[in-house]
Symmetry: C2
Subunit: 403 residues, 2 copies
């Protein structure tokens, strides 16, 4: 596997475009379409929030068939808590896209992100969709259409999130590309944690694609915490159009390579997300080992990266292990406090549950990416989680911005 340039349009037969349609007050791009002329197998994971945005409710139905070939997405408006009118608008986006691309509405997925509780300005969105479709059908869209699309789904994101990788499977090239957005309302209590759209020219059944996506999401996006809030809109979608003509069968050597590539793409996007966390200045990786089982290891890793006190401490640069021990204690996992060991970047912080003071630890806290290793000493299971610090800017952004 090697990393290549680009994003969702890196795999063969995928096209994308993005534009400003009139939603964002900033006049930045706010509407994107990803399109494969060939019908794809498709899978998705969605927020576990019981209050789901209209496009999430619609996509959950749409993706059941395991077939899709276009994703239409807007930023600036979440189309959530918008009642029957909101559902109508989500369907209107699908229908406009299907019409413009001359495909079945059954093969279109829709996503929204932005302000909750305000009706989508559909009169502006529909002409935008028509224009993007026209460009895509006539081949008049920009060469950097994937990048335009990635820009168009950003909200409080500062950095565009794109990635693509290439696999050589028995002499043939398979590519996986992706784009994502997410900088706030990201937490471990959801199945999908932000908007992420993944494309691949591999040939894979919808069923296998679904399982591969679930596994990849669980260890990556679902192990990522910016704050403890769970969005109403979060969605991860993957489309596989088979254009590489490389078939990925279950349990094959190709499958393992493909699954690893999908996970790598999700992992890299997850790391981009925490690095771009609202107001974040530092990225934290918490690796837990020696747990009784994987569930426990995850609980602890997530409890630590979710702790406001821990996050403030990372911002302040003080290696206050007490806050980590407190989070380990309330995580719900089985622990023997007297066996806990914690290291920061290889420097011992805690041994046998007792703090060790070192002059090196505060220096390690000044790094831009800080790795904590925790050994519980009660088993062999492990897990990791990504997080970021809590800063004045997090409070500033969220006391002013309407999400």
């Amino acid at each position: 596997m090697k990393r290549i340039k680009g994003g969702v349009t890196a795999p063969k037969g995928f096209y994308a475009a993005g534009m400003f349609s009139g939603i964002k007050r900033s006049h930045k791009k706010d509407l994107a379409i990803i399109f494969s002329p060939a019908v794809c197998t498709a899978a998705g994971t969605f927020t576990a929030n019981k209050v789901k945005a209209a496009p999430v409710l619609v996509d959950q139905q749409q993706v059941k068939s395991g077939r899709a070939q276009a994703i239409v997405a807007n930023a600036g408006n979440a189309n959530c808590c918008t009642g029957a009118k909101g559902l109508q608008n989500a369907w209107a986006m699908i229908k406009a896209t299907a019409k413009g691309l001359h495909i079945s509405p059954k093969h279109v997925l829709v996503c929204s992100t932005g302000v909750i509780g305000v009706q989508l300005p559909i009169a502006k969105v529909k002409p935008g969709i028509a224009e993007l479709c026209r460009q895509l059908v006539k081949g008049e869209h920009s060469a950097k259409g994937g990048t335009d699309a990635a820009d168009a789904i950003m909200t409080t994101d500062v950095v565009r999130k794109e990635i693509a990788v290439e696999l050589n499977l028995k002499g043939r090239i398979v590519r996986v590309g992706a784009m994502a957005k997410g900088a706030g309302m990201i937490s471990p209590r959801m199945h999908a944690t932000m908007l992420a759209f993944i494309t691949t020219d591999a040939k894979i059944s919808a069923q296998l694609l679904r399982r591969t996506l679930s596994d990849a999401v669980e260890d990556t996006f679902n192990s990522t915490v910016i704050d403890n809030d769970m969005s109403t809109n979060d969605t991860v979608l993957v489309l596989a159009n088979g254009m590489s003509k490389v078939k990925i069968g279950p349990k094959s050597g190709e499958y393992h390579k493909f699954a690893a590539a999908l996970k790598y793409v999700c992992d890299q996007l997850a790391q981009m997300m925490v690095a771009d966390g609202e107001g974040a200045t530092k990225v934290v990786v918490v690796e837990v080992a020696g747990a009784k089982n994987t569930t426990d290891a995850k609980k602890i890793a997530k409890a630590i990266v979710s702790s406001d006190l821990f996050k403030c401490m990372v911002f302040g640069g003080d290696p206050n292990f007490g806050r980590m021990l407190a989070a380990i204690g309330y995580s719900g996992a089985f622990v023997k406090p007297e066996r806990i060991a914690i290291d920061i970047e290889g420097v011992p912080l805690v041994r046998k549950g007792i703090g060790i003071f070192s002059r090196q630890a505060p220096r390690m806290m000044r790094r831009k990416q800080i790795r904590f290793k925790i050994n519980l000493g009660v088993g062999r299971a492990k897990a990791k989680a990504y997080g970021c610090d809590m800063t004045f800017d997090y409070v500033r952004i969220n006391s002013k911005y309407r999400t």
Copy 2:
């Protein structure tokens, strides 16, 4: 029931004293003793954190007998993650107190709050205990000993927390007094949420006292959220010395009045705590009604007051109901999104799950105490929770202060 001046020394036969013993760098008071010459019935609730401070482990044993007559508490050091030495020091505090007061070590409870992972400077604490005991035994302690004691358990608290009430039960006076500390590391995931010491001159069995305390704590301290972190040290203790000679039997009219008084005292202390939350500028009361059951109602009330995004929005003064709907959705409670109604100070914000914009709502957000009412429309159960806003000062305090 009427509110009276004072705190733990308001009930008959309770004495208290506080001083600087040498723990706090600020040279503020850091050591307190509460003492009843008569042996009391006693009950306690403790943090659910699996990483428990030494004094919590000791008190859990000590309180089992249902008898006690002194509480010794220090601030500035949590005596947590301190291993065998920490347990020795907790016992040393008990023994020094018992010796100084000429009582059995079995009747002494101990509490600590402050920095985690540093050994208690017991060589400074022991002479302090001896001095406080000398004052208490000789009656040389200050007339405002209760207030001195309340000051001595403060850490990041800005405001001292004391309260006392008086009951007239069949013509005889019964008093309940209390003091508390708590401004951070306060969350719904613990059984006891900070240090609170309650005294009463009622005569009540240890068994009944235990049950009454549990009920009171559940609806008050355990419904209070400042941040989502659960302390390793939190403890609520109650001592009843029977000096009023009013016996409180189960299921009696007196019992209901006494239980109501205990709950009132806890409720007021809980409200003082959120008002003094680290960096807080506003207090929030979230009342949930129409839930399927009480557990669900509590889940939702706590999910909202725990949400960082909600707390930032309260700070910013923007009535962004979408964040409340999102928290309701991920709370885990049974909801029908299309039935949810939300009011802020009597002004409708959400009806049938859809946002209602009003010019009055932003004005209500400027109040110092803001009451949100949520009706889920799926049952008859209700609950409430107290919270506060998240501010720049919360981040400042916790990125600098070692708890």
